[in-house]
Assembly symmetry: C2
Amino acid sequence: VDTVAIVGLGLIGGSLARDLSAAGVHVLGFDSDTAALEAARREGALEVALDGALKGLDRADVIVVATPIPATLTTLEVVSGRMDDDALVMDTGSTKRSALAAAHAVGLDEQFVGAHPMAGSHLGGWSSAKVGLFRGATVYLCRTPSTRSEIFARATALWTAVGAQPLEIDAAEHDTRVAFTSHVPHATAAALARAMARAGISHADLGPGGRDALRLAGRPPAPWTGIMLDNAEAMLAALESFGIQIEELRGALRRGDATVVRRFLEHAHKWVRP
Amino acid sequence: VDTVAIVGLGLIGGSLARDLSAAGVHVLGFDSDTAALEAARREGALEVALDGALKGLDRADVIVVATPIPATLTTLEVVSGRMDDDALVMDTGSTKRSALAAAHAVGLDEQFVGAHPMAGSHLGGWSSAKVGLFRGATVYLCRTPSTRSEIFARATALWTAVGAQPLEIDAAEHDTRVAFTSHVPHATAAALARAMARAGISHADLGPGGRDALRLAGRPPAPWTGIMLDNAEAMLAALESFGIQIEELRGALRRGDATVVRRFLEHAHKWVRP
Protein backbone atom coordinates (compact mmCIF):
# COMPACT_ATOMS: atom_id res chain seq x y z
CA VAL A 1 0.00 0.00 0.00
CA ASP A 2 1.47 3.26 -1.20
CA THR A 3 -1.37 5.78 -1.08
CA VAL A 4 -4.52 5.78 1.08
CA ALA A 5 -7.45 8.18 0.77
CA ILE A 6 -9.64 8.71 3.81
CA VAL A 7 -13.07 10.32 3.60
CA GLY A 8 -14.22 11.46 7.04
CA LEU A 9 -11.55 12.46 9.57
CA GLY A 10 -13.32 11.69 12.85
CA LEU A 11 -12.12 9.33 15.57
CA ILE A 12 -11.66 6.36 13.19
CA GLY A 13 -10.64 8.12 9.95
CA GLY A 14 -8.48 10.67 11.75
CA SER A 15 -6.65 8.05 13.83
CA LEU A 16 -6.04 5.97 10.73
CA ALA A 17 -4.62 9.05 8.94
CA ARG A 18 -2.26 9.68 11.85
CA ASP A 19 -1.05 6.05 12.02
CA LEU A 20 -0.59 5.65 8.26
CA SER A 21 1.16 8.97 7.68
CA ALA A 22 3.50 8.18 10.59
CA ALA A 23 4.28 4.89 8.82
CA GLY A 24 5.29 6.73 5.64
CA VAL A 25 2.14 6.05 3.63
CA HIS A 26 0.90 8.89 1.39
CA VAL A 27 -2.41 9.96 2.90
CA LEU A 28 -5.06 11.96 1.04
CA GLY A 29 -8.12 13.04 3.00
CA PHE A 30 -11.39 14.86 3.03
CA ASP A 31 -13.75 16.05 5.73
CA SER A 32 -16.81 18.27 5.36
CA ASP A 33 -15.57 20.14 8.44
CA THR A 34 -13.02 22.42 6.74
CA ALA A 35 -11.36 23.40 10.02
CA ALA A 36 -10.73 19.71 10.82
CA LEU A 37 -9.47 19.09 7.30
CA GLU A 38 -7.07 22.01 7.48
CA ALA A 39 -5.86 20.97 10.95
CA ALA A 40 -5.19 17.41 9.75
CA ARG A 41 -3.15 18.72 6.82
CA ARG A 42 -1.23 21.23 8.92
CA GLU A 43 -0.36 18.58 11.51
CA GLY A 44 1.02 16.31 8.81
CA ALA A 45 -1.60 13.56 9.11
CA LEU A 46 -2.57 14.33 5.50
CA GLU A 47 -0.27 14.93 2.58
CA VAL A 48 -3.12 16.31 0.47
CA ALA A 49 -6.52 17.72 1.44
CA LEU A 50 -9.06 16.69 -1.19
CA ASP A 51 -12.07 18.77 -2.17
CA GLY A 52 -15.70 17.65 -1.80
CA ALA A 53 -15.71 16.21 -5.34
CA LEU A 54 -12.75 13.97 -4.34
CA LYS A 55 -10.67 15.05 -7.31
CA GLY A 56 -7.36 13.16 -7.37
CA LEU A 57 -8.84 10.08 -5.64
CA ASP A 58 -7.55 7.85 -8.46
CA ARG A 59 -4.03 8.10 -6.96
CA ALA A 60 -5.13 5.91 -4.03
CA ASP A 61 -4.65 2.11 -3.70
CA VAL A 62 -7.01 2.11 -0.74
CA ILE A 63 -10.04 4.30 -0.11
CA VAL A 64 -11.49 4.37 3.39
CA VAL A 65 -15.01 5.75 3.88
CA ALA A 66 -15.22 6.76 7.53
CA THR A 67 -18.24 9.03 7.39
CA PRO A 68 -21.30 8.61 9.69
CA ILE A 69 -23.49 5.65 8.64
CA PRO A 70 -26.31 7.59 6.94
CA ALA A 71 -23.71 9.16 4.57
CA THR A 72 -22.10 5.88 3.45
CA LEU A 73 -24.18 5.35 0.32
CA THR A 74 -23.81 8.89 -1.04
CA THR A 75 -20.09 8.88 -0.26
CA LEU A 76 -19.63 5.57 -2.09
CA GLU A 77 -21.44 7.05 -5.09
CA VAL A 78 -18.92 9.88 -5.33
CA VAL A 79 -16.02 7.48 -4.66
CA SER A 80 -17.09 5.04 -7.38
CA GLY A 81 -16.98 7.80 -10.01
CA ARG A 82 -13.47 8.97 -9.09
CA MET A 83 -11.46 5.93 -8.04
CA ASP A 84 -8.95 3.69 -9.76
CA ASP A 85 -10.49 0.36 -10.83
CA ASP A 86 -7.93 -1.64 -8.87
CA ALA A 87 -8.34 0.20 -5.59
CA LEU A 88 -9.71 -1.37 -2.40
CA VAL A 89 -12.72 0.48 -0.96
CA MET A 90 -13.61 0.03 2.71
CA ASP A 91 -16.14 1.57 5.04
CA THR A 92 -15.59 1.59 8.81
CA GLY A 93 -19.17 1.79 10.09
CA SER A 94 -20.63 -0.10 13.06
CA THR A 95 -23.07 -2.09 10.88
CA LYS A 96 -22.09 -4.18 7.89
CA ARG A 97 -25.15 -5.47 5.98
CA SER A 98 -26.15 -1.99 4.84
CA ALA A 99 -22.55 -1.12 3.92
CA LEU A 100 -22.32 -4.18 1.65
CA ALA A 101 -25.72 -3.31 0.17
CA ALA A 102 -24.52 0.24 -0.55
CA ALA A 103 -21.34 -1.06 -2.22
CA HIS A 104 -23.49 -3.37 -4.34
CA ALA A 105 -25.81 -0.51 -5.28
CA VAL A 106 -22.90 1.47 -6.74
CA GLY A 107 -21.34 -1.56 -8.46
CA LEU A 108 -18.33 -1.94 -6.17
CA ASP A 109 -18.76 -5.59 -5.05
CA GLU A 110 -15.42 -6.80 -6.35
CA GLN A 111 -13.37 -4.06 -4.72
CA PHE A 112 -15.25 -3.69 -1.47
CA VAL A 113 -14.53 -4.87 2.07
CA GLY A 114 -16.69 -3.81 5.01
CA ALA A 115 -14.58 -3.07 8.10
CA HIS A 116 -15.61 -2.39 11.69
CA PRO A 117 -12.73 -1.56 14.04
CA MET A 118 -13.75 -2.16 17.67
CA ALA A 119 -12.13 1.03 18.85
CA GLY A 120 -15.02 3.32 19.65
CA SER A 121 -15.09 5.94 22.30
CA HIS A 122 -17.61 8.34 23.74
CA LEU A 123 -15.61 11.02 21.97
CA GLY A 124 -15.72 11.85 18.28
CA GLY A 125 -14.31 14.22 15.68
CA TRP A 126 -10.80 15.02 14.50
CA SER A 127 -9.77 16.31 17.93
CA SER A 128 -10.32 12.82 19.38
CA ALA A 129 -8.18 11.06 16.74
CA LYS A 130 -4.99 9.55 18.09
CA VAL A 131 -1.96 7.51 17.12
CA GLY A 132 -2.21 3.85 18.13
CA LEU A 133 -6.01 3.76 18.49
CA PHE A 134 -6.22 0.39 16.72
CA ARG A 135 -3.34 -1.34 18.50
CA GLY A 136 -4.66 -4.66 19.79
CA ALA A 137 -8.23 -3.93 18.68
CA THR A 138 -10.33 -6.46 16.81
CA VAL A 139 -11.36 -5.29 13.33
CA TYR A 140 -14.26 -7.21 11.83
CA LEU A 141 -13.89 -7.63 8.06
CA CYS A 142 -16.77 -8.63 5.76
CA ARG A 143 -16.37 -9.55 2.11
CA THR A 144 -19.11 -9.23 -0.48
CA PRO A 145 -20.03 -12.37 -2.45
CA SER A 146 -17.49 -11.25 -5.08
CA THR A 147 -14.71 -9.39 -3.27
CA ARG A 148 -11.45 -10.22 -5.08
CA SER A 149 -8.99 -12.17 -2.95
CA GLU A 150 -6.09 -9.72 -3.45
CA ILE A 151 -8.42 -6.91 -2.43
CA PHE A 152 -9.36 -8.72 0.78
CA ALA A 153 -5.68 -9.44 1.47
CA ARG A 154 -4.92 -5.72 1.09
CA ALA A 155 -7.58 -4.88 3.69
CA THR A 156 -6.10 -7.42 6.09
CA ALA A 157 -2.59 -6.04 5.54
CA LEU A 158 -3.68 -2.44 6.13
CA TRP A 159 -5.31 -3.15 9.49
CA THR A 160 -2.46 -5.40 10.57
CA ALA A 161 -0.05 -2.56 9.76
CA VAL A 162 -1.76 -0.29 12.31
CA GLY A 163 -1.66 -3.01 14.97
CA ALA A 164 -5.25 -4.27 14.74
CA GLN A 165 -6.36 -7.90 14.65
CA PRO A 166 -8.52 -8.58 11.57
CA LEU A 167 -11.32 -11.11 12.06
CA GLU A 168 -13.40 -12.18 9.09
CA ILE A 169 -17.12 -12.51 9.75
CA ASP A 170 -20.36 -12.79 7.79
CA ALA A 171 -22.11 -9.41 7.62
CA ALA A 172 -25.45 -10.63 9.03
CA GLU A 173 -23.69 -12.46 11.86
CA HIS A 174 -21.69 -9.31 12.58
CA ASP A 175 -24.80 -7.15 12.81
CA THR A 176 -26.52 -9.60 15.16
CA ARG A 177 -23.44 -9.82 17.33
CA VAL A 178 -23.00 -6.05 17.70
CA ALA A 179 -26.74 -5.68 18.36
CA PHE A 180 -26.25 -7.96 21.40
CA THR A 181 -22.82 -6.79 22.54
CA SER A 182 -23.06 -3.07 21.86
CA HIS A 183 -26.34 -1.61 20.57
CA VAL A 184 -28.75 -3.24 23.02
CA PRO A 185 -26.47 -2.61 26.04
CA HIS A 186 -26.37 1.03 24.90
CA ALA A 187 -30.17 1.02 24.60
CA THR A 188 -30.69 -0.49 28.07
CA ALA A 189 -28.23 1.99 29.58
CA ALA A 190 -30.14 4.86 27.98
CA ALA A 191 -33.48 3.42 29.13
CA LEU A 192 -32.12 3.09 32.69
CA ALA A 193 -30.89 6.69 32.59
CA ARG A 194 -34.29 7.95 31.45
CA ALA A 195 -36.13 5.86 34.05
CA MET A 196 -33.87 7.25 36.78
CA ALA A 197 -34.33 10.81 35.51
CA ARG A 198 -38.12 10.32 35.77
CA ALA A 199 -37.71 8.99 39.32
CA GLY A 200 -35.83 12.17 40.29
CA ILE A 201 -32.49 10.40 40.65
CA SER A 202 -29.34 12.09 39.36
CA HIS A 203 -26.13 10.60 37.98
CA ALA A 204 -24.32 11.70 41.15
CA ASP A 205 -26.46 9.20 43.11
CA LEU A 206 -24.82 6.26 41.32
CA GLY A 207 -22.06 4.15 42.86
CA PRO A 208 -19.13 2.89 40.79
CA GLY A 209 -21.10 -0.18 39.58
CA GLY A 210 -24.04 1.92 38.44
CA ARG A 211 -21.76 4.37 36.67
CA ASP A 212 -20.10 1.50 34.78
CA ALA A 213 -23.50 0.06 33.88
CA LEU A 214 -24.65 3.36 32.35
CA ARG A 215 -21.43 4.44 30.65
CA LEU A 216 -22.60 3.47 27.15
CA ALA A 217 -25.43 6.00 27.40
CA GLY A 218 -22.67 8.63 27.28
CA ARG A 219 -21.87 7.85 23.63
CA PRO A 220 -22.62 10.75 21.26
CA PRO A 221 -26.33 10.65 20.33
CA ALA A 222 -26.09 11.78 16.69
CA PRO A 223 -23.99 8.94 15.18
CA TRP A 224 -25.66 6.34 17.40
CA THR A 225 -29.10 7.33 16.18
CA GLY A 226 -27.93 6.43 12.67
CA ILE A 227 -26.30 3.19 13.81
CA MET A 228 -29.35 1.99 15.75
CA LEU A 229 -31.80 2.77 12.95
CA ASP A 230 -29.52 1.08 10.46
CA ASN A 231 -29.35 -2.02 12.65
CA ALA A 232 -32.99 -1.86 13.79
CA GLU A 233 -33.90 -5.37 12.63
CA ALA A 234 -31.08 -7.09 14.57
CA MET A 235 -31.64 -4.78 17.55
CA LEU A 236 -35.35 -5.60 17.73
CA ALA A 237 -34.58 -9.33 17.69
CA ALA A 238 -31.96 -8.91 20.44
CA LEU A 239 -34.33 -6.72 22.50
CA GLU A 240 -36.96 -9.45 22.18
CA SER A 241 -34.54 -12.03 23.55
CA PHE A 242 -33.50 -9.62 26.35
CA GLY A 243 -37.17 -9.00 27.17
CA ILE A 244 -37.80 -12.73 27.65
CA GLN A 245 -35.04 -12.79 30.28
CA ILE A 246 -36.43 -9.74 32.06
CA GLU A 247 -39.89 -11.35 32.11
CA GLU A 248 -38.46 -14.50 33.66
CA LEU A 249 -36.88 -12.47 36.46
CA ARG A 250 -40.01 -10.34 36.98
CA GLY A 251 -42.13 -13.47 37.35
CA ALA A 252 -39.73 -14.92 39.90
CA LEU A 253 -39.64 -11.66 41.91
CA ARG A 254 -43.45 -11.51 41.88
CA ARG A 255 -43.71 -15.08 43.17
CA GLY A 256 -40.79 -14.68 45.59
CA ASP A 257 -39.14 -17.66 43.88
CA ALA A 258 -35.61 -17.78 45.33
CA THR A 259 -34.61 -20.82 43.26
CA VAL A 260 -35.30 -19.11 39.94
CA VAL A 261 -33.74 -15.76 40.97
CA ARG A 262 -30.63 -17.53 42.18
CA ARG A 263 -30.32 -19.67 39.05
CA PHE A 264 -30.82 -16.55 36.92
CA LEU A 265 -28.02 -14.67 38.70
CA GLU A 266 -25.73 -17.72 38.82
CA HIS A 267 -26.02 -18.33 35.10
CA ALA A 268 -25.21 -14.69 34.31
CA HIS A 269 -22.38 -14.67 36.86
CA LYS A 270 -20.80 -17.71 35.26
CA TRP A 271 -20.99 -16.08 31.83
CA VAL A 272 -19.37 -12.85 33.06
CA ARG A 273 -16.68 -14.61 35.15
CA PRO A 274 -16.11 -17.93 33.44
CA VAL B 1 -17.54 4.68 71.29
CA ASP B 2 -15.39 2.34 73.33
CA THR B 3 -16.46 -1.17 72.30
CA VAL B 4 -18.07 -2.36 69.07
CA ALA B 5 -19.43 -5.84 68.40
CA ILE B 6 -19.67 -6.99 64.80
CA VAL B 7 -21.73 -10.00 63.75
CA GLY B 8 -20.73 -11.16 60.27
CA LEU B 9 -17.12 -10.57 59.17
CA GLY B 10 -17.54 -10.35 55.40
CA LEU B 11 -16.53 -7.45 53.19
CA ILE B 12 -18.47 -4.86 55.22
CA GLY B 13 -18.22 -6.28 58.74
CA GLY B 14 -14.61 -7.37 58.27
CA SER B 15 -13.49 -4.02 56.86
CA LEU B 16 -15.23 -2.20 59.73
CA ALA B 17 -13.44 -4.49 62.23
CA ARG B 18 -10.08 -3.69 60.63
CA ASP B 19 -10.70 0.09 60.62
CA LEU B 20 -12.06 0.28 64.15
CA SER B 21 -9.41 -1.93 65.74
CA ALA B 22 -6.72 0.13 63.97
CA ALA B 23 -8.31 3.22 65.57
CA GLY B 24 -7.98 1.70 69.06
CA VAL B 25 -11.62 0.67 69.51
CA HIS B 26 -12.24 -2.63 71.33
CA VAL B 27 -13.76 -4.91 68.70
CA LEU B 28 -15.70 -8.08 69.52
CA GLY B 29 -16.82 -10.22 66.60
CA PHE B 30 -18.59 -13.31 65.42
CA ASP B 31 -18.81 -15.15 62.13
CA SER B 32 -20.39 -18.54 61.44
CA ASP B 33 -17.29 -19.33 59.35
CA THR B 34 -14.95 -20.37 62.18
CA ALA B 35 -11.85 -20.14 59.98
CA ALA B 36 -12.67 -16.51 59.12
CA LEU B 37 -13.41 -15.75 62.78
CA GLU B 38 -10.11 -17.22 63.90
CA ALA B 39 -8.20 -15.40 61.13
CA ALA B 40 -9.77 -12.06 62.14
CA ARG B 41 -8.77 -12.58 65.76
CA ARG B 42 -5.26 -13.75 64.91
CA GLU B 43 -4.71 -10.74 62.63
CA GLY B 44 -5.75 -8.37 65.43
CA ALA B 45 -8.94 -7.09 63.79
CA LEU B 46 -10.85 -8.58 66.74
CA GLU B 47 -9.94 -8.37 70.39
CA VAL B 48 -12.43 -11.09 71.28
CA ALA B 49 -14.07 -13.79 69.14
CA LEU B 50 -17.65 -14.30 70.39
CA ASP B 51 -19.48 -17.61 70.27
CA GLY B 52 -22.71 -18.22 68.33
CA ALA B 53 -24.84 -17.30 71.38
CA LEU B 54 -23.06 -13.90 71.45
CA LYS B 55 -22.17 -14.22 75.12
CA GLY B 56 -20.42 -11.04 76.29
CA LEU B 57 -22.28 -8.82 73.81
CA ASP B 58 -23.44 -6.55 76.68
CA ARG B 59 -19.92 -5.03 76.80
CA ALA B 60 -20.57 -3.28 73.44
CA ASP B 61 -21.78 0.33 72.97
CA VAL B 62 -22.44 -0.42 69.32
CA ILE B 63 -23.58 -3.68 67.73
CA VAL B 64 -23.26 -4.02 63.97
CA VAL B 65 -25.23 -6.78 62.24
CA ALA B 66 -23.44 -7.40 58.94
CA THR B 67 -24.87 -10.80 58.06
CA PRO B 68 -26.52 -11.56 54.69
CA ILE B 69 -30.03 -10.05 54.43
CA PRO B 70 -32.08 -13.21 55.03
CA ALA B 71 -30.30 -13.67 58.38
CA THR B 72 -30.97 -10.15 59.72
CA LEU B 73 -34.13 -10.95 61.65
CA THR B 74 -32.81 -14.06 63.40
CA THR B 75 -29.53 -12.30 64.22
CA LEU B 76 -31.42 -9.34 65.71
CA GLU B 77 -33.42 -11.78 67.87
CA VAL B 78 -30.24 -13.18 69.40
CA VAL B 79 -28.73 -9.67 69.73
CA SER B 80 -31.81 -8.27 71.51
CA GLY B 81 -31.55 -10.94 74.19
CA ARG B 82 -27.86 -10.28 74.93
CA MET B 83 -27.22 -6.59 74.49
CA ASP B 84 -26.95 -3.62 76.84
CA ASP B 85 -30.13 -1.49 76.85
CA ASP B 86 -28.19 1.65 75.93
CA ALA B 87 -26.33 0.17 72.96
CA LEU B 88 -26.82 1.26 69.36
CA VAL B 89 -27.78 -1.58 67.01
CA MET B 90 -27.19 -1.20 63.27
CA ASP B 91 -27.53 -3.47 60.30
CA THR B 92 -25.55 -2.85 57.09
CA GLY B 93 -27.77 -4.53 54.49
CA SER B 94 -28.56 -3.21 51.00
CA THR B 95 -32.28 -2.77 51.78
CA LYS B 96 -33.67 -0.78 54.67
CA ARG B 97 -37.45 -1.22 55.00
CA SER B 98 -37.14 -4.87 55.98
CA ALA B 99 -34.29 -4.10 58.40
CA LEU B 100 -36.42 -1.53 60.23
CA ALA B 101 -39.32 -3.99 60.27
CA ALA B 102 -37.06 -6.67 61.78
CA ALA B 103 -35.83 -4.25 64.45
CA HIS B 104 -39.44 -3.40 65.25
CA ALA B 105 -40.38 -7.08 65.46
CA VAL B 106 -37.77 -7.68 68.18
CA GLY B 107 -38.62 -4.47 70.07
CA LEU B 108 -35.46 -2.51 69.20
CA ASP B 109 -37.00 0.62 67.60
CA GLU B 110 -35.43 3.10 70.04
CA GLN B 111 -31.90 1.77 69.68
CA PHE B 112 -31.88 0.92 66.00
CA VAL B 113 -30.39 2.65 62.96
CA GLY B 114 -30.41 1.04 59.53
CA ALA B 115 -27.14 1.66 57.67
CA HIS B 116 -26.16 0.96 54.07
CA PRO B 117 -22.56 1.76 53.20
CA MET B 118 -22.16 2.21 49.42
CA ALA B 119 -18.94 0.24 49.34
CA GLY B 120 -19.88 -3.01 47.67
CA SER B 121 -17.65 -5.09 45.53
CA HIS B 122 -17.97 -8.22 43.44
CA LEU B 123 -15.91 -9.88 46.14
CA GLY B 124 -17.13 -11.06 49.50
CA GLY B 125 -16.01 -12.76 52.71
CA TRP B 126 -13.37 -11.98 55.28
CA SER B 127 -10.55 -12.32 52.72
CA SER B 128 -11.96 -9.32 50.82
CA ALA B 129 -12.16 -7.08 53.92
CA LYS B 130 -9.74 -4.18 53.86
CA VAL B 131 -8.67 -1.07 55.74
CA GLY B 132 -10.10 2.16 54.35
CA LEU B 133 -13.01 0.57 52.46
CA PHE B 134 -15.43 3.26 53.64
CA ARG B 135 -13.19 6.28 53.01
CA GLY B 136 -15.22 8.76 50.96
CA ALA B 137 -18.17 6.36 50.58
CA THR B 138 -21.75 7.47 51.16
CA VAL B 139 -23.45 5.62 54.02
CA TYR B 140 -27.23 5.85 54.00
CA LEU B 141 -28.67 6.01 57.52
CA CYS B 142 -32.34 5.35 58.32
CA ARG B 143 -33.95 5.97 61.69
CA THR B 144 -37.03 4.18 62.96
CA PRO B 145 -40.00 6.34 64.04
CA SER B 146 -38.56 6.23 67.56
CA THR B 147 -34.77 6.03 67.27
CA ARG B 148 -33.32 8.05 70.18
CA SER B 149 -31.39 11.11 69.05
CA GLU B 150 -28.19 10.20 70.93
CA ILE B 151 -28.34 6.74 69.36
CA PHE B 152 -28.57 8.26 65.87
CA ALA B 153 -25.70 10.63 66.67
CA ARG B 154 -23.59 7.65 67.71
CA ALA B 155 -24.24 5.96 64.35
CA THR B 156 -23.22 9.14 62.51
CA ALA B 157 -20.05 9.43 64.60
CA LEU B 158 -19.05 5.82 63.99
CA TRP B 159 -19.28 6.05 60.20
CA THR B 160 -17.59 9.45 60.14
CA ALA B 161 -14.73 7.95 62.17
CA VAL B 162 -14.01 5.43 59.39
CA GLY B 163 -14.06 8.15 56.72
CA ALA B 164 -17.56 7.62 55.35
CA GLN B 165 -20.12 10.34 54.60
CA PRO B 166 -23.41 9.64 56.42
CA LEU B 167 -26.57 10.67 54.57
CA GLU B 168 -29.93 10.36 56.31
CA ILE B 169 -32.73 9.03 54.15
CA ASP B 170 -36.23 7.62 54.57
CA ALA B 171 -36.16 3.80 54.36
CA ALA B 172 -38.78 3.53 51.59
CA GLU B 173 -37.04 6.24 49.56
CA HIS B 174 -33.74 4.41 50.05
CA ASP B 175 -35.14 1.12 48.81
CA THR B 176 -36.63 2.76 45.71
CA ARG B 177 -33.40 4.57 44.98
CA VAL B 178 -31.20 1.46 45.23
CA ALA B 179 -33.72 -0.48 43.12
CA PHE B 180 -33.11 2.07 40.35
CA THR B 181 -29.40 2.70 40.82
CA SER B 182 -28.19 -0.79 41.73
CA HIS B 183 -30.67 -3.69 41.72
CA VAL B 184 -32.32 -3.06 38.33
CA PRO B 185 -28.97 -2.29 36.59
CA HIS B 186 -27.72 -5.59 38.05
CA ALA B 187 -30.87 -7.33 36.75
CA THR B 188 -30.54 -5.86 33.24
CA ALA B 189 -26.84 -6.80 33.13
CA ALA B 190 -27.73 -10.38 34.10
CA ALA B 191 -30.55 -10.48 31.53
CA LEU B 192 -28.16 -9.21 28.83
CA ALA B 193 -25.61 -11.86 29.80
CA ARG B 194 -28.21 -14.63 29.57
CA ALA B 195 -29.54 -13.34 26.23
CA MET B 196 -25.99 -13.28 24.83
CA ALA B 197 -25.29 -16.76 26.16
CA ARG B 198 -28.41 -17.99 24.32
CA ALA B 199 -27.22 -16.26 21.14
CA GLY B 200 -23.90 -18.15 21.35
CA ILE B 201 -21.90 -15.03 22.23
CA SER B 202 -19.18 -15.26 24.86
CA HIS B 203 -17.87 -12.64 27.28
CA ALA B 204 -14.62 -12.48 25.26
CA ASP B 205 -16.63 -11.02 22.35
CA LEU B 206 -17.38 -7.86 24.35
CA GLY B 207 -15.52 -4.60 23.87
CA PRO B 208 -14.61 -2.35 26.83
CA GLY B 209 -18.05 -0.64 26.78
CA GLY B 210 -19.91 -3.95 26.83
CA ARG B 211 -17.72 -5.28 29.64
CA ASP B 212 -18.48 -2.18 31.73
CA ALA B 213 -22.19 -2.52 30.99
CA LEU B 214 -22.26 -6.12 32.24
CA ARG B 215 -19.91 -5.80 35.20
CA LEU B 216 -22.71 -5.83 37.81
CA ALA B 217 -23.72 -9.33 36.68
CA GLY B 218 -20.40 -10.45 38.18
CA ARG B 219 -21.62 -9.76 41.73
CA PRO B 220 -21.88 -12.90 43.87
CA PRO B 221 -25.25 -14.59 43.19
CA ALA B 222 -26.05 -15.84 46.70
CA PRO B 223 -26.27 -12.54 48.64
CA TRP B 224 -27.86 -10.76 45.67
CA THR B 225 -30.64 -13.31 45.46
CA GLY B 226 -31.55 -12.35 49.03
CA ILE B 227 -31.26 -8.62 48.33
CA MET B 228 -33.42 -8.72 45.20
CA LEU B 229 -36.16 -10.81 46.81
CA ASP B 230 -36.14 -8.55 49.85
CA ASN B 231 -36.50 -5.49 47.60
CA ALA B 232 -38.85 -7.15 45.09
CA GLU B 233 -41.62 -4.56 45.41
CA ALA B 234 -39.36 -1.58 44.63
CA MET B 235 -37.54 -3.56 41.92
CA LEU B 236 -40.77 -4.49 40.17
CA ALA B 237 -41.86 -0.84 40.13
CA ALA B 238 -38.46 0.25 38.77
CA LEU B 239 -38.51 -2.54 36.15
CA GLU B 240 -41.95 -1.34 35.07
CA SER B 241 -40.63 2.18 34.57
CA PHE B 242 -37.57 0.82 32.71
CA GLY B 243 -39.86 -1.31 30.51
CA ILE B 244 -41.84 1.78 29.45
CA GLN B 245 -38.60 3.34 28.19
CA ILE B 246 -37.60 0.18 26.32
CA GLU B 247 -41.04 0.06 24.69
CA GLU B 248 -40.70 3.65 23.52
CA LEU B 249 -37.38 2.85 21.86
CA ARG B 250 -38.68 -0.38 20.31
CA GLY B 251 -41.61 1.48 18.79
CA ALA B 252 -39.32 4.12 17.32
CA LEU B 253 -36.96 1.47 15.88
CA ARG B 254 -39.90 -0.40 14.34
CA ARG B 255 -41.20 2.80 12.72
CA GLY B 256 -37.71 4.00 11.75
CA ASP B 257 -38.44 7.21 13.68
CA ALA B 258 -35.10 9.06 13.82
CA THR B 259 -36.52 11.99 15.78
CA VAL B 260 -37.67 9.81 18.68
CA VAL B 261 -34.51 7.66 18.73
CA ARG B 262 -32.32 10.74 18.75
CA ARG B 263 -34.34 12.47 21.48
CA PHE B 264 -34.19 9.24 23.51
CA LEU B 265 -30.41 9.03 23.26
CA GLU B 266 -29.92 12.77 23.77
CA HIS B 267 -31.94 12.79 26.96
CA ALA B 268 -29.99 9.85 28.37
CA HIS B 269 -26.68 11.35 27.24
CA LYS B 270 -27.44 14.60 29.03
CA TRP B 271 -28.28 12.73 32.23
CA VAL B 272 -25.04 10.69 32.11
CA ARG B 273 -22.83 13.67 31.12
CA PRO B 274 -24.59 16.71 32.58
